[in-house]
Subunit: 468 residues, 3 copies
Amino acid sequence: MALLDENRLLPVDSATRRVARDLYDAVRDLPIVSPHGHTDPRWFAEDQPFPDPARLFVTPDHYVFRMLASQGVPLTDLGVPRVDGGPTETDGRRIWRLFAGHYHLFRGTPSRLWLDHAFQEVFGIDRRLGAETADWYYDHIADCLARPEFRPRALFKQFNIEAIATTEAATDDLRWHRMIRESGWDGRVITAYRPDGVIDPDMADFADNVALFGEQTGCDTTTWTGYLDAHRARRAFFIAHGATSSDHGHASARTEDLPQAEAAALFARALAGTCTAQEADAFRGQMLTEMARMSLDDGLVMQIHPGARRNHSDQVMATFGRDKGFDIPGRTDYVTALRPLLNAVGMRPDLTVILFTLDETSYARELAPLAGAWPCLRLGPAWWFHDSPEGMRRFREMTTETAGFYNTVGFNDDTRAFCSIPARHDVARRVDCAWLADLVMSGRLAADEAPEVAHDLACRLARHAYRL
Amino acid sequence: MALLDENRLLPVDSATRRVARDLYDAVRDLPIVSPHGHTDPRWFAEDQPFPDPARLFVTPDHYVFRMLASQGVPLTDLGVPRVDGGPTETDGRRIWRLFAGHYHLFRGTPSRLWLDHAFQEVFGIDRRLGAETADWYYDHIADCLARPEFRPRALFKQFNIEAIATTEAATDDLRWHRMIRESGWDGRVITAYRPDGVIDPDMADFADNVALFGEQTGCDTTTWTGYLDAHRARRAFFIAHGATSSDHGHASARTEDLPQAEAAALFARALAGTCTAQEADAFRGQMLTEMARMSLDDGLVMQIHPGARRNHSDQVMATFGRDKGFDIPGRTDYVTALRPLLNAVGMRPDLTVILFTLDETSYARELAPLAGAWPCLRLGPAWWFHDSPEGMRRFREMTTETAGFYNTVGFNDDTRAFCSIPARHDVARRVDCAWLADLVMSGRLAADEAPEVAHDLACRLARHAYRL
Amino acid sequence: MALLDENRLLPVDSATRRVARDLYDAVRDLPIVSPHGHTDPRWFAEDQPFPDPARLFVTPDHYVFRMLASQGVPLTDLGVPRVDGGPTETDGRRIWRLFAGHYHLFRGTPSRLWLDHAFQEVFGIDRRLGAETADWYYDHIADCLARPEFRPRALFKQFNIEAIATTEAATDDLRWHRMIRESGWDGRVITAYRPDGVIDPDMADFADNVALFGEQTGCDTTTWTGYLDAHRARRAFFIAHGATSSDHGHASARTEDLPQAEAAALFARALAGTCTAQEADAFRGQMLTEMARMSLDDGLVMQIHPGARRNHSDQVMATFGRDKGFDIPGRTDYVTALRPLLNAVGMRPDLTVILFTLDETSYARELAPLAGAWPCLRLGPAWWFHDSPEGMRRFREMTTETAGFYNTVGFNDDTRAFCSIPARHDVARRVDCAWLADLVMSGRLAADEAPEVAHDLACRLARHAYRL
């Protein structure tokens, strides 16, 4: 039994399906360009086998374990590590059985598509996961993982990845990236500059991070100008490790363009831990504009990922820490928020700022009109909760008519689940080809123009926007 | 001439329609589980004939008379009763003719589907309503209503209702529910606990209601602890009359988890009528958390129905009172609003809190992510203005990918229009089967899994979530 | 090669397409009723040839030049005039080549549909625009423009325009409208009353405008009552030049119904330039209610177009002025905002207030419920960024079920691009017929009722709502 329908996500109407199928067949095997994500560079540096099926598919993937948690399964039963090192399930097989017994919860979700894709395409499985096949699955995948062709670098090649970006904190030593480069392996794994830890005064370790930042760069990060110099130096260090982009995960898209003296005063209060919430927010906003200015000098593409209300459950945060499925989107304004940055540098065509959203109401109302006017702006793809067939479709339906295709940047998989990467890019290519076929069949795009657009969406726009 | 298309609401593509039709045929005759609604228990207690066609279909249904009002028809011409007892049309036939003459206004609306369904399926009518058929319709329906098989209990059986919940104020004496039970009739009609009148300090009769509440329970409702005890007692009284749920219709989803002393002080000000608007809001928010805590003890499922801006027209409110079609939805936040309640009790899997919304922007952005993580949360179906084919479809499109099917609770008809109940459940089953067929045809759900999901959505999820 | 697919925008499913095609064939040649737009009355007064292809299609159309700007093309290279009269490209052919070389940017956008429609249907072109056809296009269109059948009045007749409204400031002398009337030409070109310049205290020339307003009307516009009288006089002047509507483009939908003494005090501060931002907003809100009251007397239909955050780029505003593609929508509330006006006059069936939105989230949540209840309210069509096939479809999907068809007002082209008018109405008719066909095929609308609705949407609702 095939786990996957060969024509999944293509249009149901047979004539439209033929158009979509032709478009898809021409792009399905193009290389994967993955300019934003959260895979672990250590995998590619050390090239060690993945430990076991549960630790590959369940324990690290918050899309998976939050769904079981939502139906009352304790996270400790799923082996999610506790911040206090306290007891959590360690028996991979028991975790796997629990997962398998709840597999029906994923019906209709993209997680199901991604998992089935990995099971079938990576592990060659032809039966459905469930309570009765749990052990067979566990044994089969565990056997595979022990073989050399399932090691990270082999999978990287099998997945046909042309380039992949990981994301590291500004204070990361990039040792794994260095090790990859020094190993002589030819896979292109690059980093991205994520300075939230040295930009957000509300983070508990902000002052420590800024101090470390100073040590790492030899800059005097107790002063505003020294702190900015440290960013410049650290960006150069990241660029030397392949970075072509920075990434900013603020709670809002707020930007500021304050006089430098005012910014310096805010920084001083931030370092001293005396910022009000409002001042901390203003400081984060100011730093987005500073980052944009630095991008004009060093060429890093700037990504803004706002809108997540992090750590909604105090108990989950206290017990298990960040990124445990309890981050919830909220309404996000872009129009007022981005004005200061845009009026400072937004007419510069040599700047690229890529906007993401967790608030789909902003697609047609704010983001497409902004990207359809400001030269620096591009729209990132449907993100996180919206990185699904319906979500990707809504993205195209609500942005194309105002922003067109060429103010978008192709697909980001944004994942820490390595085996889901081919699945996610495949979903994006299918959904985009289905959308293009609908445009062709309804006379909104000429049949001879669609293949070029499909190719652009599959990889050329990502290469171009991210300067890869 | 059939008023209804046999394949209405099923997909247009023929292959997809066959899949949907098979799914629908297997669930169409399943019993109706109606866990939330506003039918009048007196109907089932007394089992008297419905008075006349206008008083069955027009006068009590704000979906119907607000549409005529929107085109300039005075509500008094439609027989809507005035709060001052002043003149309003009493001639059912004249009301009916006015309704019939404006029937084209309902083209493309779900009201048209529901009405035509009742005309055809309940009253066996095969011609369209309009000015020229108005009298024929009136006579035909009036004749039917005089016959025993059109009395409430007979229709209840004919509609194949397994269980129906009405909604009563916390201070209701539940006499009709008692009368139903004592009558020996085996129809399952249960109540639901709606305490807004004793929780909302902004209601004009709040203090009187709380005083009555004290008399009914023997608790000292002049004190915070006595007031909470009164809730406990009254919830037990409702449970004894079949209630399995409470229902809360606040303007927002705000919750609070204040120290008890602070809550007690707020209650004192509320009773004294000295709350500010902000304090009244905080008190309502606190009470949602108190209700959730009581649910952990007594097992009532908690429903939160926020977001209606009630009584938008002062003139309509003054002349005709509440629930006259002038309640308008507004933007509704859930993420910040629900945090206090959720952090108090939200990780408890033995608690069920069902969330509804009138703000569809919250589906994908807030509600599905919340329900896809917190163990206590479930999503109520598309509600009120969104209880329509397009609205139900949007609900599935925007919640399934993050929350799946099993964090939803099946259908609620939420109606006071008895004859529309089979129509509304039929619409929901058709729309859900159409959605499932689309998932199957696009490879997002296995063909052999879809029938189980269809059955779950038609009645099993409602039974389970509402503990029926 | 045809630039346009004969069945564009009709449903893909063949049976549904047949239904849609029949509906469309019956309305495609109905006259164009254009009750709201921004064509220049001077065209019809003087009937001079349009200057050249670039000045017809590129320079005046912000939909077009903002898209090129978004990809880094300077507006001066596109011949957009500078407010300081400084250098901008004046060679039409060079502008045209730049436009042609970027034509791929419009793939998937409605601008592409409108342009191709004009190229094929107005200019008889059968090859695609691009770098290699740029000069051919330029010569061909320039040749056409020199011929009498391409003059404004000839095109007006060829386009089958029954009536078209332009929009003039309250202080406009309406000379072109007078000249049209006096010319004896029988084309119906009417004005609309746009008083923003004498209503918005935040406009730089507000006080000057109000002074001119006084001169024009002989009213003492230094006083509140004189100022209101001036509006009455000026509305009468506009009505004498054919106006049947007023139009109000405020930043929000805020209305107020203040005591007259308070309104007079606000007006005095506005004139003196001492309003706070909040007071200016209150004054604009008060004036919407005053305009509605005047409509009850003089019969002008009132249009409210809120929600644009104007002039997002300071640099573009300073260099090129208003309406240069840098107006971005923002969230817009209607429920709270409109209450004062509605409670003042909203139950009057002889008043018509047409609401537009740039915030699609308000369609199902606010606008359809409001228009489905208040007698005075009607919904304007999908507007500006949403005036596209997907946008029009979303409008119908999100408003029909609550407001029906008869609380909507047909189509507005709202354009300053004369040659796009037939294209835009054609798109609207196709999208509406496709929607109606879907309703018919899914059993939500009877096949014999659809043709009447299609005709209503194509022109009868516009005639009726705008009193044309």
